[in-house]
C-alpha cells in the first residue's frame, strides 16, 4: 500500500508517481518540449517543486501567454487525465465538488414506496455512491492515477469559493454529511491560473507555489511556433517572433498572446510567405490575426508595420 501523502506534515514525500517528474528540471523541460510545450527554466523548476513539496502551482500572467497549456502539457507528459474546473462568478459547492442526483433519489423513493421496505434501508440506499454526482474537485481526488487538476481562472470565482477550495487543497478530502469523509485515493497535481482580474487572498497565494508567466522571449516563441506549426521554416519563425515581440511593445488595447502568434504564423505559411520583408502587403493584410480591436487595427498602420519590419533582422 502506497503511503498516503499528508500535506503539511513536513515530509517531502517520496511518491510512487511516474518517474518523469522526479528527474531533474532539464529532463522535465525536454520532456515537456516533446509534448509540444516549450517551457523556460523557471517554469520547469516550478513544476519539479510542485511535486517535491506537493503544493499547488499558481500561474499568473496576461491572457494568452499559455497558462492553461502548462496543465495540458503536464497531463500529456504524465499520460494522465486532465480534470478541468473552469471558474466563473457564482460557482458554488454543488457545481465544483459534488451534488446528489435528486431526481433519481426521488424516483428511487417512489419506486420503493409500495414494497414496504424499511425506512432506514431506503435512506441508506438513496444516499449511496450510486446517487452521487461527482464534480471536478471530488473526481480529481478519487482517481486511481493522480490526475492533473486545472483550476482555470480562479480570479473569476467568488471569494467564498476560494475559501473552500483552500480547505480541499490543504486536506485533500471532502466531507459529505450523508456519506462521511471521502479521503483522497491519490493526490492530484494542482495547477491554478489567474488573469489578475481580482486580487486573490493572501491565504491562497501562500498555500501555492507561484510562477509569473510572461510573454515568451523571441527565441522561445520561435521554438513554440516550430513545435506548433508544421512545416514552418526556422528563420521565418524567428522573424515572426521578433516582430511580435516589438508589436507587443506598441501601445495596444489588447496585446496579442501566443495563440495569436501561432494563428498568424499558420496564416503566413498558408499564403506561402518565405521572408517577411518580401511580402510586406501580405504581412500587413494578415495582421488581423493578431490585432483584435478596431483601435489597434487603426493604430498599426502601414507605416507602423514597415517600422516594425525594419527592426526585424
Amino acid at each position: 500500500m502506497a503511503s498516503r501523502i499528508r500535506p503539511g506534515n513536513g515530509q517531502v514525500f517520496e511518491s510512487e508517481k511516474p518517474t518523469l517528474m522526479s528527474k531533474s528540471k532539464e529532463h522535465l523541460a525536454k520532456a515537456l518540449a516533446e509534448t509540444g510545450y516549450v517551457a523556460d527554466e523557471g517554469l520547469a523548476t516550478a513544476l519539479v517543486l510542485t511535486d517535491m513539496l506537493s503544493r499547488p502551482l499558481l500561474l499568473e500572467g496576461e491572457a494568452g501567454v499559455g497558462k492553461t497549456e502548462v496543465a495540458k502539457a503536464l497531463a500529456n507528459l504524465e499520460e494522465t487525465d486532465l480534470i478541468r474546473l473552469q471558474c466563473y462568478e457564482g460557482l458554488d459547492r454543488s457545481d465544483a465538488i459534488y451534488e446528489w442526483n435528486y431526481q433519481r433519489q426521488l424516483l428511487a423513493i417512489k419506486a420503493r414506496e409500495g414494497s414496504g421496505a424499511d425506512a432506514d434501508a431506503v435512506e441508506e440506499a438513496v444516499f449511496s455512491e450510486k446517487y452521487l454526482l461527482e464534480r471536478p474537485l471530488l473526481a480529481a481526488i478519487r482517481q486511481e492515477k493522480p490526475p492533473v487538476l486545472l483550476i482555470d481562472e480562479i480570479d473569476r470565482a467568488d471569494e467564498e469559493f476560494e475559501a473552500f477550495l483552500l480547505e480541499i487543497l490543504s486536506d485533500y478530502q471532502v466531507s459529505i454529511p450523508e456519506l462521511g469523509t471521502v479521503p483522497a485515493t491519490s493526490i492530484p497535481r494542482v495547477v491554478l491560473t489567474s488573469n489578475g482580474t481580482r486580487e486573490l487572498s493572501d491565504a491562497l497565494r501562500r498555500r501555492c507555489l507561484y510562477h509569473y508567466v510572461d510573454y515568451p522571449a523571441p527565441d522561445r516563441e520561435a521554438r513554440i511556433l516550430l513545435s506548433r506549426v508544421d512545416g514552418l521554416d526556422a528563420a521565418l519563425a524567428l522573424q515572426i517572433a521578433e516582430l511580435m515581440g516589438n508589436l507587443r511593445k506598441e501601445d495596444l488595447n489588447k496585446v496579442p498572446g501566443v495563440a495569436e502568434t501561432i494563428d498568424w504564423a499558420a496564416a503566413l505559411l498558408g499564403l506561402g510567405v518565405k521572408k517577411l520583408h518580401d511580402s510586406r502587403d501580405l504581412v500587413f493584410d494578415t495582421l488581423v490575426c493578431v490585432l483584435k480591436t478596431r483601435e489597434d487595427q487603426a493604430k498599426v498602420t502601414r507605416e507602423v508595420t514597415d517600422r516594425l519590419l525594419g527592426k526585424v533582422a
Partner: protein, 399 residues
C-alpha cells in the same frame, strides 16, 4: 568518527537555518506574506539535490516565497542582496526605517486648511442660520450652536471644519455604501422562467409529507456586491475638499470589500492599501505618505491614461462604477483627457463625476478638461455638501 561528522554536519545545518530565518525576515519586512510552512519547505529544499547552484536555488525560492507579481519582480534583487551580498538598487525596505521627512501629509494639509479657513472666514460664503452669531472676528463661533447642526447638510465642505461634521460625512458614506451593495447576478437575470429549484431543501421539506415534494423551495437571489473604483483629485484647486473627500472615500472602502481608491494630482497613486486601515486618522497618515506632493497641479488626462494602462484591467469589471471626484481644472491636454475618458467608459458600467464646483452659483462646466470629459460621463453631480452626497444614493443603488 561518525559522531564527529554528524556534529559538523549539524553545525552547518544550524548556520544555514539561521541564515534562512534571516532571509525570511527580510522578505517579511519587504511585504512578502511568508508563513512557517514556507520556511519549513525552504529548509527541505536546501537538503535536496535540486539545489546545488545559487541560480536554481533562487528559482526555487522565488516560486516558493512569491505570492504576486510585485513580489516576483523584486525577489531577485532581495535574494542577491541577502545571499550574494550585492547592493540594493531600488527602494527595498530595511527593518525599522522611519518615513522620510519633509513630506506633506494629508493631515498637515487638513490642519493648514483649517487655519487658512479661519483667517479667511470673512470671504466664506455665509450659510443660513449662522448669519447672526457669526462675525469675522470670532471665527470659532461657527463651530457651535444647534442651528449649525441642523443645516449641516447644506454647508459647503469648504466651510466645514467641525470634527462632528466630518464624522457625519463618514457615516453618510457608510449608508451610501450599504445601499449600493445588493445586486443580482448575471445568473439571476437569466432566470426568466422563474427561480431555480433548490432540490436539497425541497427534499428536506418533503420528509414531513412522506417524501412527496409538496412544498417547492426555490433558490433565493444571491446578493452581490458592486465594485467601486474611486479616483480622487488631490490637486491644489481641490484643497478645500480633499480632507472631507478622503474621509468619504475611507468610509466607502470600509464598507465595500470590492472597492479600490486612487488619488491623483500630477500623477496617479493607488491608495487602497493605505485606506484599508480601520482607524481613519492612521489611514489618512499612511495615504499622505504614499501620495507625496499633493496640493500641486492636476493632469487628469495623464492620470487617467496611467489608470487605463496599468490598473484598469485588474480593478474594473462589468459591474464596476467609476467615481471621479474632481473639479475638472486640468493643466494637461483636454483632447487627451477626452480620449482617455472614452477608453474608460467602454470598460466600466458607469462613470460618475462628482464636481464640488457645481454647488457654486453660476458655475458652468466651461473648463477645457471638463468640456472634453463631459460627453463620456453618465452622471455629473455636485459634491459640495453632505446633502449632495446623500442625493447620490438612489442613483447608485439601482446600478
Amino acid at each position: 568518527m561518525s559522531t564527529l561528522r554528524l556534529e559538523t554536519h549539524e553545525d552547518v545545518g544550524a548556520v544555514l537555518r539561521e541564515r534562512l530565518a534571516g532571509f525570511v525576515r527580510t522578505l517579511r519586512d519587504n511585504g512578502f506574506k511568508v508563513g512557517l510552512a514556507e520556511t519549513r519547505d525552504a529548509l527541505q529544499l536546501i537538503r535536496t539535490t535540486l539545489v546545488k547552484h545559487p541560480k536554481s536555488l533562487k528559482a526555487a525560492y522565488r516560486c516558493l516565497f512569491c505570492g504576486r507579481q510585485s513580489d516576483w519582480k523584486r525577489f531577485d534583487e532581495l535574494f542577491d542582496a541577502y545571499w550574494l551580498e550585492r547592493g540594493l538598487k531600488t527602494g527595498v525596505k530595511v527593518t525599522g526605517s522611519s518615513p522620510k521627512k519633509g513630506m506633506k501629509t494629508i493631515r498637515e494639509l487638513m490642519d493648514a486648511q483649517g487655519t487658512k479657513q479661519e483667517t479667511l472666514a470673512g470671504d466664506v460664503e455665509r450659510q443660513p442660520g449662522e448669519e447672526d452669531e457669526d462675525s469675522d472676528d470670532t471665527p470659532t463661533g461657527r463651530r457651535e450652536g444647534a442651528s449649525i447642526a441642523e443645516n449641516l447638510g447644506q454647508v459647503d465642505f469648504r466651510n466645514m471644519q467641525d470634527p462632528d461634521a466630518l464624522e457625519k460625512a463618514h457615516d453618510l458614506a457608510e449608508r451610501l455604501a450599504r445601499a449600493m451593495r445588493v445586486r443580482l447576478t448575471r445568473r439571476d437575470r437569466q432566470r426568466r422562467k422563474g427561480p431555480r429549484l433548490d432540490l436539497r431543501k425541497t427534499i428536506r421539506h418533503s420528509i414531513a409529507h412522506g417524501g412527496t415534494p409538496i412544498e417547492l423551495i426555490r433558490k433565493g437571489p444571491r446578493h452581490r456586491q458592486l465594485r467601486l473604483v474611486i479616483l480622487l483629485d488631490a490637486s491644489g484647486s481641490m484643497n478645500n475638499y480633499t480632507s472631507v473627500f478622503t474621509r468619504f472615500v475611507h468610509g466607502m472602502l470600509d464598507n465595500f470589500r470590492e472597492a479600490e481608491a486612487f488619488l491623483f494630482h500630477t500623477r496617479l497613486v493607488h491608495v487602497s492599501s493605505a485606506l484599508s486601515e480601520r482607524d481613519a486618522a492612521r489611514a489618512l497618515d499612511r495615504m499622505g505618505l504614499m501620495a507625496q506632493g499633493i496640493g500641486g497641479g492636476t493632469k487628469i488626462g495623464e492620470a487617467l491614461a496611467d489608470f487605463n494602462r496599468w490598473h484598469a484591467a485588474r480593478v474594473i469589471h462589468s459591474r464596476t462604477c467609476v467615481i471621479i471626484l474632481s473639479d475638472g481644472y486640468d493643466t494637461g491636454d483636454p483632447a487627451a483627457l477626452g480620449e482617455e475618458m472614452k477608453r474608460l467608459r467602454r470598460r466600466c458600467k458607469r462613470i460618475v463625476w462628482l464636481n464640488p464646483l457645481i454647488g457654486c452659483e453660476g458655475y458652468e462646466p466651461t473648463a477645457g478638461g471638463m468640456q472634453a470629459a463631459l460627453p463620456h460621463v453618465d452622471l455629473f453631480a455636485p459634491a459640495h455638501n453632505l446633502d449632495s452626497l446623500a442625493a447620490l444614493e438612489p442613483y447608485l443603488a439601482e446600478l
